[in-house]
């Protein structure tokens, strides 16, 4: 049984949430907010750090666009000495990255209250800004209605990002509070579920009364959504596995890599201050380049693209939350999401680990058992 607060929707779902978050700051429940808000131009929605209730103006966690996996904001705004309270609103893939980063000791969650939303997916940024530029009314409200009527894989004739199409975690109920909308009538009410004591305290301090219930409409809608997502995930995984199953195939998939390292730069899990692959360790001297060319006959420039990709996987794939930002950022459209999903699943299965599922499970690379992996 979940502990629920019902918020009546008066004008629309976004206005209701905006009021909720503004009141959080106004009533001194938090010193700062991390919330996605519409840009003044209206063509995109970005994460913001807000310190003044009057600046909570266009909170929008339902926009069908995710310019970045913003788990990184809590890396920037918390440390071991953090005393200020933060309430942060994230999508499920961002939330799972937050959990991974907390376990990697990059985020201090002590004074952070995490709020998640039910996520229906996002479009590529360029598709979204184009649609938003043309739209007369609020694009989010318009698309929410469209999705209710037409299903979940295309919006206004455009495909969702592959990461969203294959996402098996459209909701995450391990955050302190989750905002429930799935399967519910968003025009009438939204539900806030307090999943942890911290979440309960925040909601009751705000004067809400919590009731125990388990809305079956949400459960049914969620099951259907996850089933559809899992089907497309399995299809994608199968396709990728066949494509990279041998060295020539793997090389073909990576052929477009220009070694820009965008995939690492936008990756929420890649937190290193200096990436190993940009460090001096892999730098070659003029003599080394020419020696290598002499020995091998010819070398591809820029060098080390395959080393980078397999190496990076070894470093972070156990924590990959499959948010697909790497693929979205790739100028050569390398199907990185599929690769990380497919290979990630295999590796994570070895350790029976689901990245971002909870804070309790140890990171596979930070722990060990004395008796294990005898086949290695």
């Amino acid at each position: 049984m979940a502990k629920i607060v019902r918020l009546d929707v008066k004008k629309d779902v976004l206005a209701t949430l905006n009021d909720f978050f503004r009141n959080l700051l106004k009533n001194n429940m938090s010193d700062a907010l991390v919330v996605p808000q519409n840009l003044p131009s209206g063509v995109s929605t970005v994460q913001t750090i807000v310190g003044d209730p009057e600046s909570v103006i266009s909170v929008n966690p339902f926009a069908f666009v995710l310019p970045a996996n913003s788990a990184d904001i809590l890396v920037k705004t918390t440390d071991d000495a953090s005393k200020q309270r933060i309430v942060a609103l994230f999508r499920p893939c961002e939330m799972r990255a937050v959990f991974e980063l907390a376990k990697l000791h990059q985020i201090n969650l002590e004074n952070v209250t995490l709020i998640s939303v039910d996520c229906l997916g996002t479009l590529p940024i360029s598709d979204y800004t184009e649609l938003a530029g043309k739209s007369e009314e609020d694009l989010t409200l318009k698309l929410l209605k469209e999705v209710e009527n037409n299903g979940i894989s295309t919006i206004s004739g455009r495909d969702l990002r592959p990461a969203c199409l294959t996402c098996e975690f459209p909701v995450i109920d391990t955050a302190d509070i989750s905002i429930w909308t799935l399967g519910l009538n968003k025009d009438k009410e939204i539900l806030l579920s307090a999943n942890t004591p911290k979440g309960e305290v925040l909601l009751s301090n705000m004067g809400f009364e919590l009731t125990e219930e388990d809305p079956s409409e949400r459960k049914t809608a969620l099951e259907a959504l996850i089933k559809a997502r899992e089907e497309s995930r399995d299809k994608l995984i199968q396709g990728v596995k066949e494509a990279v199953a041998d060295i020539p195939g793997f090389m073909r998939v990576l052929a477009g890599c220009i070694n820009c390292h965008n995939c690492m730069k936008v990756c929420p899990i890649c937190y290193c201050k200096e990436c190993f692959f940009e460090s001096d360790v892999l730098k070659s001297s003029p003599k080394q380049y020419l020696d290598k060319a002499g020995k091998k006959g010819v070398i591809r420039m820029p060098m080390d693209t395959v080393l980078y990709h397999i190496g990076r996987m070894n470093h972070m794939i156990t924590s990959c939350v499959a948010c697909g930002q790497c693929e979205s950022a790739c100028p050569s459209k390398i199907p990185l999401l599929g690769i990380y999903l497919a290979l990630g699943k295999d590796v994570q299965t070895v350790f029976n680990y689901l990245p971002g599922k909870s804070l309790d499970e140890d990171l596979p690379l930070a722990t060990f058992k004395e008796e294990e992996l005898s086949e290695v």
């Binding site: 596995k241 060295i247 006959g297 591809r300 397999i310 590796v347 690379l365 992996l373």
Partner: protein, 157 residues
């Protein structure tokens, strides 16, 4: 430490085709156990192929899989990572962590069609000179069976 014996003499009767292929094997050996074990193999005049190239590291836990991949991409046909037996690590748990990293590496290599057998993790103590020589001989044999590492000859890596 490395004897002058040719690889062919230490492996069991390879056929004509296999005879031409002399695999290059890189070994990351932990300072406290396996490197000393390799030393003992040398001192005891145990024979193992000369085309095994040892690299001394302080601990198998310090072997970033990237180095193993780099070796494979740049000409190694197989890579041995060898360290102290479980429970014997000089740094207490380095070898356990290495085991997890190598498990991940092997899984990934398998997925992209590179035989995971080309990477091998072994526990060889300072007193196991014989085990060291046997391991290298056995690896040499297996690598000859596998044939040359397909990715080392690609230039577009």
């Amino acid at each position: 430490m490395v004897t002058d014996t040719k690889a062919e003499e230490t492996v069991d009767a390879p056929n004509e085709n296999e005879k031409k292929f002399e695999p290059k094997i890189i070994g990351f050996l932990c300072n406290w156990c396996s490197y000393t074990g390799a030393d003992l193999a040398g001192v005891s005049r145990l024979q193992y192929p000369p085309n095994f190239i040892p690299i001394r590291v302080m601990c198998t836990g310090a072997v970033d899989p990237v180095y193993v991949i780099k070796a494979l991409l740049e000409g190694a046909d197989a890579v041995l990572v060898a360290g102290c037996h479980p429970g014997d690590c000089h740094y207490l748990s380095g070898n356990y962590k290495a085991r997890r990293r190598i498990a991940i590496l092997k899984k990934l290599l398998e997925d992209i069609g590179l035989e995971e057998k080309r990477v091998r993790l072994e526990w060889i103590s300072a007193s196991e000179g014989q085990k060291f020589a046997d391991t290298v001989n056995e690896m040499m044999k297996e690598t000859i069976k596998l044939g040359p590492n397909p990715i080392k000859s690609e230039w577009d890596i």
